[in-house]
C-alpha cells in the first residue's frame, strides 16, 4: 500500500455516536481479556505457549486470524480490484495445500520435539548456527512488519474517518501491548478469536449486499467484462498460459511452483507467527486438526476480501487508480476499495462494525507479530546466547518487557515509514527473503536424515543471500527480470514468486551438497525430529470421521472443486 497516496485522499465517512459505541465495546472487551488472563501467564510455558492447552478449534482459528492483518484485508481487496480474481490464488493454491501439509506431515515433528519456536526446532535439528541466523532475521523483520502494519492501519483511519495518525497509532498499539504483555500468548489467541469473528461480522455484509446490487455472480462477471472491455479478470486459471495473457503478468508455472509450493509452504509451515498458534494445541491430534480447520476458513476468506474488490469493479461510479497516480490527482487508490465499499453499504452502527473489523484485523496481526517476536527473542536469542541460566520467572519478565519494547520499536518503525514511504515496499520484500530458504532448510531437516548441521546453516545462508542478490540485481538492472522471472513481461508479483523459487532451489542444492561433504549425525540423535528416525505417537479416534486425514481430504476436495468452478 502506498502511503502518500492514501494520505492525500479526502475523508470518506464520519462516525456518529453509535459507531463510536461499537468501537468502544470492542476495545473494552480486549483490554478486559488481557487483565483477566494475567494470572494465567506466570510460567514461561504459560506466557509463551499459552500452557499448550488450546483446543483444535481455538488454535486453528487463531492460526488464520494472526494472518488476517489490516494489510491482508485492504491490500488484497485492492489487488482484486487491480488484478481481478487472480488475487484469489493467494488464498487457495497459495495457502490450502501448505496448511494441510503442515497439519498432516509436519506438525507431528514440531509437536513431539516440544520446541518453543521454529528457530528452536532448527537448534534441535541443526545446532546453534541455523538457529541464530533464523532467529535474528525473524525477530528483526517481524518487528519491522508490525510497524508497517500499524502505519497502514493509521493512514486508512485518517483517510476513512479523518482520525489523527498519532491517535490511531498510539491507542491501538498501547492496547495490543497491554493485553499481550499481561496475558501472553493466551491473551493474544483469545483476542484473535474475537477479532476473527469481528472481521467476518463486520465485513460480510459488503459481499452480500454487493451481490444483491449487481444481481448475482453471473451478472457480476458480465458487468466486469463490459466495464473493462476484457474477460480475463474473472478467470482463475484459463488466462495463465503466458505472462501477457492476464492482468497480473504471471504464468501458471510461477503460480503452481513459486506461489503454491515455495512461497506458500514457506509462510504457512515455517513462519513462526502462524506456527506458534498451532504449537499451543493441547494434544498432537489438536495440533494436526488445527491447520485443517484453519484451511477450511482460509478458503472462505476471499468472500469478504476478494469479492468486494470485484464488486467494486462493477458498481463504483468512478475508477480507482494506481498509487502514483492517486498521489498526483487526489483520486482514490486501489487500496481504499474495502473502506469505500463499507461506506457504500453500511449506515450508522454497521459502519462502526466495519471500521472495528479493520481495527481488529490490524490488532490481530500486530499481536501475532509481537507475541512471536517476544518468544523468539526470549528463547532463541536472549536465553540461547545472552543469558542461558536465568530462572523461569526471569524469562517470563523478559517476555513481558520484550513485548513492550517490541511495540515501541514498531511504533518507531511506523514513524520511520511515514518519512520514507518506499521503505514499506522494501521491507515487505525483505520479509520474503527469509521465508523461502527457511522452508528448504526445515523440510530437508524433517524429511532427510542425511542433512547435517553445517549444511543447515550454509543452505539457509546461501538461499537468503541468493534472494537478496536477485532482488538487488533487478533493482540495479531491470532487464535482469528476463532471467529472474523467466520473462521480460513479468510484473512485480511474478518477480517475487520466482525469486522465492530460486532462493529455495539454491538453499536445497547447497544443503544437499554440503551434507554429502560433512559428517551426518547418528540416527539415534534424530529421534523425534526427522521422518524415518521417529516413532510417532498413535492417535486413537473413536470413529473414522474424527481423523485429521479425513477432514484434510474433504478440504482438499472442496479446494479442487472451487479451482475448477472458477477456472
Amino acid at each position: 500500500m502506498h502511503l502518500t497516496a492514501l494520505a492525500v485522499s479526502t475523508q470518506l465517512a464520519r462516525l456518529n455516536w453509535i459507531d463510536i459505541l461499537v468501537i468502544a465495546i470492542y476495545f473494552a472487551i480486549v483490554v478486559f481479556i488481557g487483565f483477566y488472563l494475567r494470572g494465567s501467564s506466570n510460567t514461561s510455558e504459560e506466557f509463551f505457549m499459552a500452557g499448550r492447552e488450546m483446543t483444535a478449534w481455538i488454535a486453528g482459528l487463531s492460526f488464520v486470524s494472526a494472518n488476517l492483518g489490516s494489510l491482508e484485508l485492504m491490500g488484497w481487496a485492492g489487488s482484486a480490484y487491480q488484478y481481478g480474481i487472480l488475487a484469489m490464488h493467494w488464498y487457495w493454491i497459495g495457502a490450502i495445500p501448505a496448511m494441510l501439509f503442515l497439519g498432516i506431515v509436519m506438525m507431528p515433528f514440531y509437536y513431539i520435539s516440544k520446541t518453543h519456536s521454529v528457530p528452536g526446532y532448527l537448534k534441535l535439528r541443526y545446532g546453534d548456527g541455523a538457529r541464530a541466523l533464523s532467529a535474528v532475521s525473524f525477530a528483526f523483520m517481524t518487528i519491522l512488519m508490525s510497524g508497517i502494519n500499524m502505519y497502514s492501519m493509521a493512514i486508512v483511519m485518517k483517510v476513512v474517518l479523518g482520525w489523527d495518525l498519532n491517535f490511531s497509532i498510539w491507542v491501538s498499539s498501547v492496547t495490543v501491548a497491554v493485553y499481550v504483555a499481561l496475558g501472553g500468548l493466551k491473551s493474544a489467541i483469545y483476542n484473535e478469536i474475537l477479532q476473527f469473528i469481528l472481521i467476518w461480522t463486520g465485513a460480510l455484509l459488503v459481499p452480500i449486499l454487493g451481490l444483491i446490487e449487481v444481481g448475482g455472480w453471473s451478472n457480476l462477471r458480465q458487468q466486469i467484462a463490459t466495464n473493462l472491455g476484457r474477460s480475463d479478470y474473472v478467470h482463475l486459471w484459463s488466462t495463465l498460459g503466458h505472462f501477457t495473457d492476464n492482468p497480473m503478468g504471471v504464468n501458471w508455472f510461477g503460480i503452481v511452483f513459486g506461489l503454491g509450493f515455495v512461497v506458500s509452504f514457506g509462510y504457512w509451515t515455517t513462519d513462526f507467527l502462524v506456527v506458534q498458534r498451532i504449537l499451543s494445541a493441547d494434544s498432537i491430534r489438536s495440533a494436526r486438526m488445527a491447520p485443517v480447520i484453519g484451511a477450511a476458513f482460509k478458503m472462505a476468506v476471499p468472500f469478504i476480501v476478494i469479492l468486494p474488490g470485484l464488486i467494486a469493479l462493477s458498481v463504483l461510479p468512478f475508477h480507482l487508480v494506481a498509487q502514483d497516480v492517486a498521489v498526483q490527482t487526489g483520486q482514490h487508490s486501489f487500496n481504499e476499495v474495502l473502506p469505500l465499499m463499507l461506506v457504500r453499504y453500511c449506515g450508522p452502527g454497521l459502519l462502526g462494525m466495519g471500521v472495528t473489523a479493520l481495527i481488529a484485523g490490524f490488532m490481530s496481526g500486530m499481536a501475532g507479530n509481537v507475541s512471536a517476536f517476544s518468544t523468539v527473542w526470549t528463547y532463541d536469542i536472549y536465553g540461547a546466547f545472552l543469558n542461558k541460566k536465568a530462572t523461569d520467572k526471569h524469562y517470563v519478565a523478559m517476555g513481558r518487557w520484550s513485548t513492550l519494547i517490541g511495540v515501541l520499536v514498531s511504533v518507531g518503525t511506523a514513524y520511520l515509514v511515514q518519512h520514507a514511504a518506499s521503505i514499506m515496499d522494501y521491507v515487505q520484500q525483505l520479509f520474503s527473503f527469509f521465508i523461502a530458504p527457511l522452508f528448504g532448510t526445515v523440510i530437508l531437516g524433517m524429511l532427510w536424515k542425511r542433512a547435517t548441521k553445517e549444511a543447515g546453516f550454509w543452505g539457509l545462508l546461501a538461499g537468503t543471500v541468493t534472494s537478496i542478490g536477485l532482488w538487488l540485481w533487478v533493482r540495479n538492472d531491470p532487464s535482469a527480470l528476463r532471467y529472474v522471472a523467466m520473462s521480460p513481461n513479468a510484473k512485480d508479483m511474478a518477480e517475487n514468486i520466482y525469486r522465492a523459487l530460486w532462493a529455495w532451489i539454491v538453499c536445497v542444492l547447497v544443503t544437499v551438497v554440503v551434507s554429502y561433504m560433512t559428517q551426518p549425525r547418528p540416527v539415534a540423535e534424530l529421534e523425534g525430529l526427522v521422518y524415518g528416525a521417529s516413532v510417532l505417537p498413535q492417535e486413537h479416534d473413536d470413529h473414522w470421521y474424527q481423523r485429521p486425514i479425513v477432514w484434510a481430504g474433504i478440504v482438499a476436495v472442496i479446494f479442487i472443486f472451487l479451482n475448477v468452478a472458477f477456472w
Binding site: 461499537v22 483477566y36 494465567s40 483446543t55 474475537l194 469473528i197 455484509l205 453499504y345 454497521l350
Partner: protein, 75 residues
C-alpha cells in the same frame, strides 16, 4: 489458574452486544430516516443483521456461560 470464562462466552457477549445495538439502530431508522442513506438501505440490513448477531450471541452466551465452562473445561 484455570479460567472460568470460555473464549466462546466472550464471543457470545460481543455478538449479543453488537446485535442489540445494530438492531436497535435499524428500528430507530424506520422512524428517523437517514439524510444520506447507504446503497440498498431499503433492505434494512441493520434490522436483520443485528437480529442475527443477537440470536447467535445469545446462543453462545447461554451455551458457554461460566458455570458450564468450569464443568466441561471448555475454553
Amino acid at each position: 489458574m484455570r479460567e472460568s470464562f470460555s473464549i466462546w462466552w466472550f464471543a457470545g457477549i460481543l455478538l449479543l452486544a453488537y446485535g442489540v445495538v445494530i438492531f436497535a439502530t435499524g428500528i430507530w431508522e424506520l422512524s428517523h430516516p437517514l439524510l444520506n442513506p447507504p446503497v440498498l438501505n431499503n433492505l434494512h440490513a441493520p434490522i436483520w443483521w443485528g437480529a442475527l448477531l443477537a440470536v447467535a450471541g445469545l446462543g453462545y452466551t447461554i451455551g458457554f456461560r461460566p458455570r458450564q465452562a468450569v464443568h466441561k473445561r471448555r475454553k
